[in-house]
Protein backbone atom coordinates (compact mmCIF):
# COMPACT_ATOMS: atom_id res chain seq x y z
CA UNK A 1 0.00 0.00 0.00
CA UNK A 2 2.82 2.35 0.85
CA UNK A 3 4.35 1.70 -2.51
CA UNK A 4 1.21 2.77 -4.25
CA UNK A 5 1.06 5.92 -2.17
CA UNK A 6 4.67 6.76 -2.83
CA UNK A 7 4.10 6.18 -6.51
CA UNK A 8 1.19 8.58 -6.51
CA UNK A 9 3.10 11.24 -4.62
CA UNK A 10 6.03 10.95 -7.00
CA UNK A 11 3.74 10.99 -9.99
CA UNK A 12 1.93 14.04 -8.65
CA UNK A 13 5.13 15.92 -8.09
CA UNK A 14 6.45 14.84 -11.48
CA UNK A 15 3.29 16.06 -13.12
CA UNK A 16 3.80 19.44 -11.44
CA UNK A 17 0.39 19.48 -9.80
CA UNK A 18 0.82 22.86 -8.24
CA UNK A 19 -2.01 24.17 -6.17
CA UNK A 20 -3.06 20.73 -5.14
CA UNK A 21 -1.11 20.73 -1.91
CA UNK A 22 0.97 17.93 -0.53
CA UNK A 23 -0.51 14.54 0.19
CA UNK A 24 -1.46 14.95 3.79
CA UNK A 25 -0.56 13.06 6.90
CA UNK A 26 -4.14 12.01 7.41
CA UNK A 27 -3.67 8.47 6.14
CA UNK A 28 -2.44 7.15 9.47
CA UNK A 29 -3.69 3.62 9.91
CA UNK A 30 -7.09 3.58 11.60
CA UNK A 31 -5.69 0.98 14.00
CA UNK A 32 -3.44 3.61 15.60
CA UNK A 33 -3.98 3.37 19.34
CA UNK A 34 -3.76 7.09 19.99
CA UNK A 35 -6.52 8.68 17.93
CA UNK A 36 -5.51 12.17 16.92
CA UNK A 37 -7.58 14.82 15.20
CA UNK A 38 -6.87 14.92 11.48
CA UNK A 39 -8.38 16.52 8.41
CA UNK A 40 -9.67 13.41 6.69
CA UNK A 41 -11.18 14.81 3.51
CA UNK A 42 -13.99 13.02 1.71
CA UNK A 43 -15.86 13.68 -1.54
CA UNK A 44 -19.39 12.90 -2.57
CA UNK A 45 -19.54 11.18 -5.94
CA UNK A 46 -20.22 14.33 -7.93
CA UNK A 47 -17.24 16.34 -6.65
CA UNK A 48 -14.14 15.03 -8.44
CA UNK A 49 -13.80 15.35 -12.22
CA UNK A 50 -13.75 12.03 -14.06
CA UNK A 51 -15.92 10.08 -16.48
CA UNK A 52 -16.48 7.18 -14.11
CA UNK A 53 -15.97 6.14 -10.50
CA UNK A 54 -12.45 4.87 -11.08
CA UNK A 55 -11.30 8.08 -12.73
CA UNK A 56 -12.84 10.07 -9.87
CA UNK A 57 -11.12 7.89 -7.28
CA UNK A 58 -7.79 8.26 -9.10
CA UNK A 59 -8.22 12.03 -8.97
CA UNK A 60 -9.19 11.97 -5.30
CA UNK A 61 -6.21 9.80 -4.44
CA UNK A 62 -3.88 12.25 -6.11
CA UNK A 63 -5.33 14.98 -3.90
CA UNK A 64 -4.91 12.91 -0.76
CA UNK A 65 -8.67 12.65 -0.27
CA UNK A 66 -9.26 9.58 1.90
CA UNK A 67 -13.05 9.28 2.00
CA UNK A 68 -15.76 8.61 -0.56
CA UNK A 69 -19.40 9.40 0.28
CA UNK A 70 -21.78 7.65 -2.11
CA UNK A 71 -25.50 8.32 -2.22
CA UNK A 72 -27.72 5.74 -0.57
CA UNK A 73 -30.05 5.33 -3.56
CA UNK A 74 -29.64 1.83 -4.99
CA UNK A 75 -26.61 1.22 -2.78
CA UNK A 76 -27.39 -2.47 -2.21
CA UNK A 77 -26.89 -3.04 -5.93
CA UNK A 78 -23.57 -1.17 -5.94
CA UNK A 79 -21.73 -2.89 -3.09
CA UNK A 80 -19.56 -5.04 -5.39
CA UNK A 81 -18.83 -2.17 -7.78
CA UNK A 82 -17.74 0.15 -4.95
CA UNK A 83 -15.74 -2.53 -3.15
CA UNK A 84 -13.90 -3.33 -6.34
CA UNK A 85 -13.24 0.31 -7.18
CA UNK A 86 -11.74 0.91 -3.72
CA UNK A 87 -9.58 -2.22 -3.71
CA UNK A 88 -5.92 -1.40 -3.16
CA UNK A 89 -6.66 2.26 -2.60
CA UNK A 90 -6.15 4.49 0.42
CA UNK A 91 -9.75 5.66 0.08
CA UNK A 92 -12.54 4.23 2.25
CA UNK A 93 -16.27 4.74 2.17
CA UNK A 94 -17.01 7.61 4.57
CA UNK A 95 -20.75 8.21 5.14
CA UNK A 96 -23.66 7.17 2.93
CA UNK A 97 -25.75 10.18 1.93
CA UNK A 98 -29.46 9.51 2.47
CA UNK A 99 -31.27 7.64 -0.34
CA UNK A 100 -34.17 6.44 1.82
CA UNK A 101 -37.82 7.21 1.11
CA UNK A 102 -40.61 8.18 3.52
CA UNK A 103 -39.78 10.12 6.70
CA UNK A 104 -39.65 9.40 10.41
CA UNK A 105 -41.86 12.24 11.71
CA UNK A 106 -44.65 11.55 9.20
CA UNK A 107 -48.19 11.63 10.53
CA UNK A 108 -48.89 8.53 8.40
CA UNK A 109 -47.40 5.42 10.01
CA UNK A 110 -46.95 3.86 6.56
CA UNK A 111 -44.56 6.67 5.54
CA UNK A 112 -42.62 6.18 8.77
CA UNK A 113 -42.35 2.43 8.11
CA UNK A 114 -41.24 3.14 4.55
CA UNK A 115 -38.40 5.24 5.96
CA UNK A 116 -37.45 2.54 8.49
CA UNK A 117 -37.42 -0.20 5.84
CA UNK A 118 -35.51 1.70 3.17
CA UNK A 119 -33.03 3.06 5.73
CA UNK A 120 -32.33 -0.45 6.99
CA UNK A 121 -31.61 -1.70 3.48
CA UNK A 122 -29.17 1.16 2.93
CA UNK A 123 -27.50 0.69 6.31
CA UNK A 124 -27.03 -3.02 5.62
CA UNK A 125 -25.23 -2.15 2.38
CA UNK A 126 -23.33 0.68 4.09
CA UNK A 127 -22.22 -1.70 6.81
CA UNK A 128 -20.83 -4.09 4.19
CA UNK A 129 -18.86 -1.18 2.77
CA UNK A 130 -17.48 -0.25 6.20
CA UNK A 131 -19.29 3.09 6.20
CA UNK A 132 -19.32 5.39 9.25
CA UNK A 133 -23.07 5.74 8.90
CA UNK A 134 -26.08 6.65 6.80
CA UNK A 135 -27.15 10.29 6.84
CA UNK A 136 -30.82 10.86 7.63
CA UNK A 137 -33.07 13.89 7.87
CA UNK A 138 -36.13 13.14 10.06
CA UNK A 139 -38.40 15.36 7.97
CA UNK A 140 -38.04 17.99 5.25
CA UNK A 141 -40.36 21.00 5.16
CA UNK A 142 -42.04 19.61 2.05
CA UNK A 143 -42.84 16.28 3.69
CA UNK A 144 -46.37 16.85 4.98
CA UNK A 145 -48.34 16.12 7.01
CA UNK A 146 -45.71 15.75 9.72
CA UNK A 147 -46.35 15.26 13.42
CA UNK A 148 -46.24 18.43 15.55
CA UNK A 149 -43.93 18.87 18.53
CA UNK A 150 -43.67 17.27 21.05
CA UNK A 151 -45.07 14.14 19.40
CA UNK A 152 -42.62 14.36 16.49
CA UNK A 153 -39.61 14.07 18.77
CA UNK A 154 -41.11 11.26 20.84
CA UNK A 155 -42.07 9.18 17.81
CA UNK A 156 -38.66 9.86 16.28
CA UNK A 157 -36.78 8.71 19.39
CA UNK A 158 -38.81 5.49 19.51
CA UNK A 159 -37.87 4.65 15.92
CA UNK A 160 -34.25 5.65 16.44
CA UNK A 161 -33.82 3.03 19.14
CA UNK A 162 -34.72 0.35 16.59
CA UNK A 163 -32.71 1.90 13.75
CA UNK A 164 -29.70 2.42 16.02
CA UNK A 165 -29.71 -1.19 17.14
CA UNK A 166 -30.04 -2.31 13.53
CA UNK A 167 -27.11 -0.06 12.56
CA UNK A 168 -24.90 -1.47 15.31
CA UNK A 169 -25.61 -5.04 14.17
CA UNK A 170 -24.33 -4.03 10.77
CA UNK A 171 -21.27 -2.25 12.13
CA UNK A 172 -22.46 1.21 11.15
CA UNK A 173 -24.59 4.09 12.48
CA UNK A 174 -27.46 6.34 11.57
CA UNK A 175 -26.31 9.96 11.31
CA UNK A 176 -28.89 12.69 12.02
CA UNK A 177 -28.33 15.78 9.89
CA UNK A 178 -29.65 19.20 11.01
CA UNK A 179 -30.60 21.38 8.03
CA UNK A 180 -31.22 25.09 7.71
CA UNK A 181 -34.79 26.32 8.11
CA UNK A 182 -35.41 26.71 4.40
CA UNK A 183 -35.12 22.93 4.08
CA UNK A 184 -36.27 21.58 7.44
CA UNK A 185 -37.75 23.18 10.52
CA UNK A 186 -37.79 20.14 12.74
CA UNK A 187 -34.04 19.83 13.50
CA UNK A 188 -31.79 22.78 12.67
CA UNK A 189 -29.02 22.85 15.27
CA UNK A 190 -26.13 20.47 15.85
CA UNK A 191 -26.84 20.63 19.60
CA UNK A 192 -30.41 19.49 18.93
CA UNK A 193 -29.33 16.56 16.73
CA UNK A 194 -26.78 15.53 19.36
CA UNK A 195 -29.41 15.71 22.11
CA UNK A 196 -31.76 13.52 20.04
CA UNK A 197 -28.93 11.02 19.50
CA UNK A 198 -28.25 11.05 23.25
CA UNK A 199 -31.92 10.59 24.13
CA UNK A 200 -32.23 7.65 21.72
CA UNK A 201 -30.03 5.76 24.15
CA UNK A 202 -28.51 3.83 21.24
CA UNK A 203 -24.80 3.96 20.38
CA UNK A 204 -25.95 3.41 16.80
CA UNK A 205 -27.34 6.96 16.57
CA UNK A 206 -24.99 9.86 15.95
CA UNK A 207 -25.10 13.17 14.09
CA UNK A 208 -23.37 15.30 11.51
CA UNK A 209 -22.63 19.00 11.25
CA UNK A 210 -22.84 20.67 7.85
CA UNK A 211 -21.00 23.99 7.56
CA UNK A 212 -23.46 25.11 4.89
CA UNK A 213 -26.55 24.70 7.04
CA UNK A 214 -24.67 25.92 10.12
CA UNK A 215 -23.94 29.21 8.37
CA UNK A 216 -27.63 30.05 8.64
CA UNK A 217 -28.59 28.44 11.93
CA UNK A 218 -25.64 28.55 14.34
CA UNK A 219 -24.15 31.49 16.20
CA UNK A 220 -20.86 29.62 16.70
CA UNK A 221 -19.28 26.80 14.68
CA UNK A 222 -17.11 26.08 17.72
CA UNK A 223 -20.03 25.90 20.14
CA UNK A 224 -22.06 23.77 17.73
CA UNK A 225 -19.32 21.16 17.26
CA UNK A 226 -18.52 21.04 20.98
CA UNK A 227 -22.20 20.40 21.63
CA UNK A 228 -22.03 17.67 18.96
CA UNK A 229 -19.24 16.15 21.04
CA UNK A 230 -19.01 12.37 20.97
CA UNK A 231 -22.19 12.22 18.88
CA UNK A 232 -20.52 14.14 16.04
CA UNK A 233 -19.37 11.51 13.57
CA UNK A 234 -19.34 13.27 10.20
CA UNK A 235 -18.97 16.76 8.71
CA UNK A 236 -20.23 18.25 5.43
CA UNK A 237 -18.55 21.25 3.91
CA UNK A 238 -19.30 23.78 1.16
CA UNK A 239 -18.76 27.46 0.48
CA UNK A 240 -20.81 29.60 2.86
CA UNK A 241 -22.83 31.85 0.57
CA UNK A 242 -23.82 29.71 -2.40
CA UNK A 243 -22.91 26.11 -1.45
CA UNK A 244 -20.08 25.89 -3.98
CA UNK A 245 -16.51 24.62 -3.46
CA UNK A 246 -14.95 26.03 -0.27
CA UNK A 247 -13.18 29.20 -1.31
CA UNK A 248 -15.58 30.16 -4.09
CA UNK A 249 -17.30 32.58 -1.71
CA UNK A 250 -14.06 34.29 -0.73
CA UNK A 251 -13.69 35.63 2.80
CA UNK A 252 -16.99 34.09 3.88
CA UNK A 253 -15.42 30.64 3.57
CA UNK A 254 -13.80 30.53 6.97
CA UNK A 255 -13.93 27.17 8.76
CA UNK A 256 -11.18 27.80 11.31
CA UNK A 257 -13.49 28.21 14.31
CA UNK A 258 -15.14 24.87 13.52
CA UNK A 259 -11.80 23.18 12.84
CA UNK A 260 -10.57 24.38 16.24
CA UNK A 261 -13.47 22.54 17.83
CA UNK A 262 -12.73 19.38 15.81
CA UNK A 263 -9.16 19.50 17.10
CA UNK A 264 -10.40 20.06 20.66
CA UNK A 265 -12.71 17.04 20.24
CA UNK A 266 -9.90 14.93 18.81
CA UNK A 267 -12.20 14.36 15.84
CA UNK A 268 -11.04 11.53 13.60
CA UNK A 269 -14.04 11.38 11.27
CA UNK A 270 -14.32 12.81 7.76
CA UNK A 271 -14.91 16.30 6.40
CA UNK A 272 -16.88 15.61 3.26
CA UNK A 273 -17.57 17.86 0.28
CA UNK A 274 -21.27 18.35 -0.56
CA UNK A 275 -21.40 21.26 -2.98
CA UNK A 276 -21.47 22.42 -6.57
CA UNK A 277 -19.05 24.69 -8.39
CA UNK A 278 -19.30 27.76 -10.54
CA UNK A 279 -15.80 27.30 -11.94
CA UNK A 280 -13.77 24.64 -13.69
CA UNK A 281 -13.83 21.59 -11.45
CA UNK A 282 -10.15 20.85 -12.21
CA UNK A 283 -9.32 24.23 -10.64
CA UNK A 284 -11.92 24.77 -7.93
CA UNK A 285 -11.59 21.29 -6.39
CA UNK A 286 -7.82 21.33 -5.74
CA UNK A 287 -8.05 24.98 -4.64
CA UNK A 288 -10.69 24.02 -2.09
CA UNK A 289 -8.59 21.14 -0.78
CA UNK A 290 -5.62 23.46 -0.39
CA UNK A 291 -7.74 26.10 1.38
CA UNK A 292 -9.09 23.59 3.88
CA UNK A 293 -5.61 22.22 4.64
CA UNK A 294 -4.32 25.75 5.20
CA UNK A 295 -7.22 26.57 7.51
CA UNK A 296 -6.85 23.27 9.37
CA UNK A 297 -3.20 24.09 10.03
CA UNK A 298 -4.16 27.55 11.28
CA UNK A 299 -6.89 26.18 13.56
Amino acid sequence: MHNRRDFIRTAAIAAGMTGIGSISEVMAAPSDKKAKAALNLSFQEGIAPGKNLNEKLDYMEKLGVVGFEPGGGGLAGRVSEIKQALQGRKIKVSAICAGFSGWLIAEDAARRKECMDTSKAIMAAGGELGSVGMILVPGFNGQQPSLPMPQAREVLIEQLKELGDFALKHGTTLLLEPLNRREAWFMRLVADAAAIAKDSGSAGIACIGDFWHMTWEETSDYGAFISGGKYLKHIHIASRKRRKMPGEDGEADNYIDGFKALKALNYTGYVSFECGTEGKREETVPAAVKLLRDQWNKA
Copy 2:
Protein backbone atom coordinates in the same frame (compact mmCIF):
# COMPACT_ATOMS: atom_id res chain seq x y z
CA MET B 1 -18.70 52.21 49.62
CA HIS B 2 -15.44 50.53 50.42
CA ASN B 3 -15.91 51.36 54.05
CA ARG B 4 -19.24 49.64 54.13
CA ARG B 5 -17.78 46.59 52.39
CA ASP B 6 -14.87 46.41 54.79
CA PHE B 7 -17.26 46.71 57.68
CA ILE B 8 -19.30 43.82 56.43
CA ARG B 9 -16.25 41.65 55.84
CA THR B 10 -14.96 42.39 59.32
CA ALA B 11 -18.36 41.77 60.83
CA ALA B 12 -18.67 38.50 58.96
CA ILE B 13 -15.29 37.30 60.10
CA ALA B 14 -15.99 38.43 63.65
CA ALA B 15 -19.25 36.54 63.63
CA GLY B 16 -17.37 33.39 62.60
CA MET B 17 -19.56 32.76 59.57
CA THR B 18 -17.86 29.57 58.56
CA GLY B 19 -19.11 27.83 55.48
CA ILE B 20 -20.14 31.07 53.86
CA GLY B 21 -16.88 31.61 52.02
CA SER B 22 -14.95 34.84 51.76
CA ILE B 23 -16.51 37.89 50.27
CA SER B 24 -15.50 37.54 46.69
CA GLU B 25 -13.54 39.76 44.38
CA VAL B 26 -16.53 40.14 42.11
CA MET B 27 -17.47 43.62 43.26
CA ALA B 28 -15.07 45.35 40.92
CA ALA B 29 -16.63 48.56 39.69
CA PRO B 30 -18.63 48.01 36.49
CA SER B 31 -16.75 50.96 35.02
CA ASP B 32 -13.52 48.95 34.98
CA LYS B 33 -12.05 49.25 31.49
CA LYS B 34 -10.80 45.69 31.31
CA ALA B 35 -13.83 43.48 31.79
CA LYS B 36 -12.80 40.18 33.32
CA ALA B 37 -14.93 37.11 33.92
CA ALA B 38 -16.18 36.94 37.50
CA LEU B 39 -18.71 34.93 39.46
CA ASN B 40 -21.25 37.67 40.13
CA LEU B 41 -23.84 35.85 42.20
CA SER B 42 -27.46 36.99 42.22
CA PHE B 43 -30.54 35.82 44.12
CA GLN B 44 -34.20 35.89 43.20
CA GLU B 45 -36.35 37.38 45.94
CA GLY B 46 -37.34 34.05 47.48
CA ILE B 47 -33.79 32.70 47.97
CA ALA B 48 -32.34 34.45 51.02
CA PRO B 49 -33.86 34.00 54.47
CA GLY B 50 -35.38 37.16 55.90
CA LYS B 51 -38.78 38.55 56.83
CA ASN B 52 -38.62 41.41 54.33
CA LEU B 53 -36.57 42.71 51.44
CA ASN B 54 -34.12 44.59 53.67
CA GLU B 55 -33.38 41.55 55.80
CA LYS B 56 -32.89 39.48 52.66
CA LEU B 57 -30.53 42.08 51.19
CA ASP B 58 -28.57 42.21 54.45
CA TYR B 59 -28.15 38.45 54.31
CA MET B 60 -27.12 38.54 50.64
CA GLU B 61 -24.58 41.25 51.31
CA LYS B 62 -23.00 39.19 54.06
CA LEU B 63 -22.61 36.35 51.55
CA GLY B 64 -21.07 38.63 48.94
CA VAL B 65 -24.04 38.22 46.63
CA VAL B 66 -24.02 41.23 44.30
CA GLY B 67 -27.22 40.85 42.29
CA PHE B 68 -30.93 40.88 43.09
CA GLU B 69 -33.42 39.47 40.57
CA PRO B 70 -36.97 40.62 41.33
CA GLY B 71 -40.02 39.27 39.58
CA GLY B 72 -41.54 41.47 36.90
CA GLY B 73 -45.09 41.29 38.30
CA GLY B 74 -46.12 44.73 39.55
CA LEU B 75 -42.56 46.00 39.16
CA ALA B 76 -43.63 49.50 38.09
CA GLY B 77 -45.19 49.94 41.55
CA ARG B 78 -42.04 48.74 43.31
CA VAL B 79 -39.38 50.92 41.71
CA SER B 80 -39.11 53.32 44.69
CA GLU B 81 -39.18 50.50 47.24
CA ILE B 82 -36.40 48.58 45.47
CA LYS B 83 -34.28 51.68 44.81
CA GLN B 84 -34.50 52.62 48.43
CA ALA B 85 -33.69 49.12 49.67
CA LEU B 86 -30.56 49.00 47.48
CA GLN B 87 -29.32 52.46 48.43
CA GLY B 88 -25.80 52.36 49.84
CA ARG B 89 -25.46 48.64 49.15
CA LYS B 90 -23.08 46.70 46.92
CA ILE B 91 -26.07 44.90 45.43
CA LYS B 92 -27.59 45.91 42.10
CA VAL B 93 -30.68 44.71 40.28
CA SER B 94 -29.58 41.89 37.96
CA ALA B 95 -32.33 40.65 35.64
CA ILE B 96 -36.09 41.01 36.01
CA CYS B 97 -37.80 37.62 35.97
CA ALA B 98 -40.79 37.62 33.60
CA GLY B 99 -44.09 38.97 35.01
CA PHE B 100 -45.67 39.74 31.62
CA SER B 101 -48.95 38.27 30.42
CA GLY B 102 -49.91 36.92 26.99
CA TRP B 103 -47.25 35.34 24.76
CA LEU B 104 -45.39 36.26 21.59
CA ILE B 105 -46.08 33.15 19.50
CA ALA B 106 -49.82 33.17 20.22
CA GLU B 107 -52.13 32.52 17.29
CA ASP B 108 -54.35 35.32 18.62
CA ALA B 109 -52.87 38.73 17.84
CA ALA B 110 -54.53 40.15 20.97
CA ARG B 111 -52.50 37.79 23.18
CA ARG B 112 -49.33 38.81 21.36
CA LYS B 113 -50.11 42.49 21.88
CA GLU B 114 -50.87 41.82 25.53
CA CYS B 115 -47.36 40.36 25.86
CA MET B 116 -45.79 43.31 24.04
CA ASP B 117 -47.60 45.86 26.20
CA THR B 118 -46.98 44.20 29.55
CA SER B 119 -43.35 43.47 28.67
CA LYS B 120 -42.77 47.10 27.76
CA ALA B 121 -44.17 48.28 31.09
CA ILE B 122 -41.85 45.89 32.96
CA MET B 123 -38.84 46.85 30.86
CA ALA B 124 -39.48 50.54 31.51
CA ALA B 125 -39.43 49.84 35.25
CA GLY B 126 -36.43 47.49 34.87
CA GLY B 127 -34.56 50.17 32.97
CA GLU B 128 -35.16 52.64 35.81
CA LEU B 129 -33.68 50.09 38.18
CA GLY B 130 -30.61 49.59 35.96
CA SER B 131 -31.52 45.99 35.21
CA VAL B 132 -29.58 43.90 32.68
CA GLY B 133 -32.84 42.83 31.09
CA MET B 134 -36.28 41.28 31.42
CA ILE B 135 -36.48 37.51 31.03
CA LEU B 136 -39.08 36.32 28.53
CA VAL B 137 -40.30 32.93 27.33
CA PRO B 138 -41.92 33.23 23.87
CA GLY B 139 -44.46 30.51 24.61
CA PHE B 140 -45.05 27.86 27.27
CA ASN B 141 -46.51 24.47 26.32
CA GLY B 142 -49.75 25.35 28.08
CA GLN B 143 -50.20 28.57 26.10
CA GLN B 144 -52.42 27.44 23.25
CA PRO B 145 -53.20 27.89 20.47
CA SER B 146 -49.68 28.88 19.44
CA LEU B 147 -48.44 29.42 15.90
CA PRO B 148 -46.70 26.46 14.29
CA MET B 149 -43.17 26.60 12.90
CA PRO B 150 -41.97 28.33 10.78
CA GLN B 151 -44.55 31.09 11.35
CA ALA B 152 -43.93 31.17 15.10
CA ARG B 153 -40.28 32.12 14.64
CA GLU B 154 -41.03 34.70 11.96
CA VAL B 155 -43.75 36.42 13.99
CA LEU B 156 -41.51 36.30 17.06
CA ILE B 157 -38.58 37.95 15.27
CA GLU B 158 -40.82 40.72 14.00
CA GLN B 159 -42.00 41.54 17.52
CA LEU B 160 -38.49 41.26 18.96
CA LYS B 161 -37.25 44.06 16.72
CA GLU B 162 -39.79 46.38 18.32
CA LEU B 163 -39.24 45.09 21.86
CA GLY B 164 -35.46 45.24 21.45
CA ASP B 165 -35.58 48.84 20.31
CA PHE B 166 -37.89 49.70 23.21
CA ALA B 167 -35.50 47.98 25.63
CA LEU B 168 -32.50 49.92 24.30
CA LYS B 169 -34.33 53.20 24.74
CA HIS B 170 -34.79 52.28 28.39
CA GLY B 171 -31.17 51.16 28.84
CA THR B 172 -32.05 47.52 29.25
CA THR B 173 -32.63 44.37 27.16
CA LEU B 174 -35.09 41.57 26.59
CA LEU B 175 -33.58 38.22 27.58
CA LEU B 176 -34.91 35.11 25.81
CA GLU B 177 -34.93 32.06 28.07
CA PRO B 178 -34.86 28.54 26.61
CA LEU B 179 -36.74 26.05 28.81
CA ASN B 180 -36.75 22.28 28.93
CA ARG B 181 -39.33 20.45 26.85
CA ARG B 182 -41.65 19.76 29.76
CA GLU B 183 -42.27 23.50 29.99
CA ALA B 184 -41.79 24.79 26.45
CA TRP B 185 -41.19 23.09 23.14
CA PHE B 186 -40.66 26.18 21.06
CA MET B 187 -37.18 27.21 22.27
CA ARG B 188 -35.16 24.70 24.26
CA LEU B 189 -31.50 25.27 23.42
CA VAL B 190 -29.21 28.18 24.27
CA ALA B 191 -27.89 28.06 20.68
CA ASP B 192 -31.44 28.50 19.41
CA ALA B 193 -32.18 31.46 21.71
CA ALA B 194 -28.89 33.09 20.68
CA ALA B 195 -29.71 32.57 16.99
CA ILE B 196 -33.12 34.17 17.48
CA ALA B 197 -31.47 37.12 19.25
CA LYS B 198 -29.01 37.40 16.36
CA ASP B 199 -31.74 37.22 13.73
CA SER B 200 -33.76 39.93 15.51
CA GLY B 201 -31.02 42.33 14.43
CA SER B 202 -31.57 44.36 17.62
CA ALA B 203 -28.85 44.85 20.23
CA GLY B 204 -31.73 45.00 22.73
CA ILE B 205 -32.37 41.26 22.38
CA ALA B 206 -30.15 38.79 24.24
CA CYS B 207 -30.58 35.43 25.94
CA ILE B 208 -30.02 33.54 29.16
CA GLY B 209 -28.84 30.03 29.93
CA ASP B 210 -30.42 28.17 32.86
CA PHE B 211 -28.41 25.24 34.19
CA TRP B 212 -31.63 23.56 35.31
CA HIS B 213 -33.22 23.49 31.87
CA MET B 214 -29.86 22.80 30.23
CA THR B 215 -29.51 19.62 32.27
CA TRP B 216 -32.33 18.12 30.21
CA GLU B 217 -31.77 19.70 26.82
CA GLU B 218 -28.06 20.25 26.24
CA THR B 219 -25.32 17.74 25.54
CA SER B 220 -22.65 20.21 26.67
CA ASP B 221 -22.84 23.17 29.07
CA TYR B 222 -19.62 24.42 27.50
CA GLY B 223 -20.89 24.18 23.93
CA ALA B 224 -24.20 25.77 24.87
CA PHE B 225 -22.63 28.83 26.53
CA ILE B 226 -20.09 29.28 23.73
CA SER B 227 -22.99 29.26 21.27
CA GLY B 228 -24.68 31.82 23.51
CA GLY B 229 -21.57 33.94 23.06
CA LYS B 230 -22.11 37.69 23.06
CA TYR B 231 -25.88 37.15 23.24
CA LEU B 232 -25.55 35.43 26.63
CA LYS B 233 -26.30 38.10 29.22
CA HIS B 234 -27.66 36.21 32.24
CA ILE B 235 -27.45 32.76 33.87
CA HIS B 236 -29.89 30.92 36.12
CA ILE B 237 -28.67 28.19 38.43
CA ALA B 238 -30.23 25.42 40.55
CA SER B 239 -29.42 21.87 41.60
CA ARG B 240 -29.57 19.51 38.62
CA LYS B 241 -32.01 16.84 39.68
CA ARG B 242 -34.74 18.60 41.65
CA ARG B 243 -34.16 22.34 41.12
CA LYS B 244 -33.10 22.96 44.71
CA MET B 245 -30.03 24.87 45.99
CA PRO B 246 -26.86 23.96 44.09
CA GLY B 247 -25.30 21.09 46.04
CA GLU B 248 -28.55 19.57 47.28
CA ASP B 249 -28.36 17.01 44.47
CA GLY B 250 -24.81 15.98 45.34
CA GLU B 251 -22.47 14.91 42.54
CA ALA B 252 -25.00 15.88 39.89
CA ASP B 253 -24.47 19.53 40.77
CA ASN B 254 -21.41 20.10 38.65
CA TYR B 255 -21.24 23.47 36.87
CA ILE B 256 -17.51 23.50 36.10
CA ASP B 257 -17.88 22.84 32.36
CA GLY B 258 -20.28 25.76 32.05
CA PHE B 259 -18.13 28.01 34.25
CA LYS B 260 -15.15 27.23 31.99
CA ALA B 261 -17.14 28.58 29.06
CA LEU B 262 -18.12 31.72 31.02
CA LYS B 263 -14.44 32.32 31.72
CA ALA B 264 -13.59 31.73 28.05
CA LEU B 265 -16.30 34.24 27.10
CA ASN B 266 -15.04 36.75 29.66
CA TYR B 267 -18.60 36.74 31.03
CA THR B 268 -19.25 39.62 33.39
CA GLY B 269 -23.00 39.10 33.88
CA TYR B 270 -24.74 37.48 36.84
CA VAL B 271 -25.27 33.84 37.87
CA SER B 272 -28.65 33.99 39.57
CA PHE B 273 -30.31 31.50 41.91
CA GLU B 274 -33.75 30.30 40.79
CA CYS B 275 -34.55 27.30 42.95
CA GLY B 276 -36.20 25.95 46.06
CA THR B 277 -34.65 24.09 48.97
CA GLU B 278 -35.37 20.91 50.86
CA GLY B 279 -33.20 21.93 53.80
CA LYS B 280 -32.86 24.82 56.19
CA ARG B 281 -32.35 27.94 54.10
CA GLU B 282 -29.77 29.26 56.57
CA GLU B 283 -27.65 26.21 55.80
CA THR B 284 -28.39 25.35 52.17
CA VAL B 285 -27.98 28.90 50.84
CA PRO B 286 -24.46 29.58 52.19
CA ALA B 287 -23.43 26.02 51.29
CA ALA B 288 -24.56 26.61 47.71
CA VAL B 289 -22.65 29.89 47.52
CA LYS B 290 -19.52 28.18 48.76
CA LEU B 291 -19.93 25.29 46.31
CA LEU B 292 -20.27 27.64 43.35
CA ARG B 293 -17.20 29.66 44.39
CA ASP B 294 -15.18 26.46 44.73
CA GLN B 295 -16.32 25.25 41.30
CA TRP B 296 -15.68 28.65 39.74
CA ASN B 297 -12.11 28.55 41.05
CA LYS B 298 -11.65 25.04 39.65
CA ALA B 299 -13.05 25.99 36.23
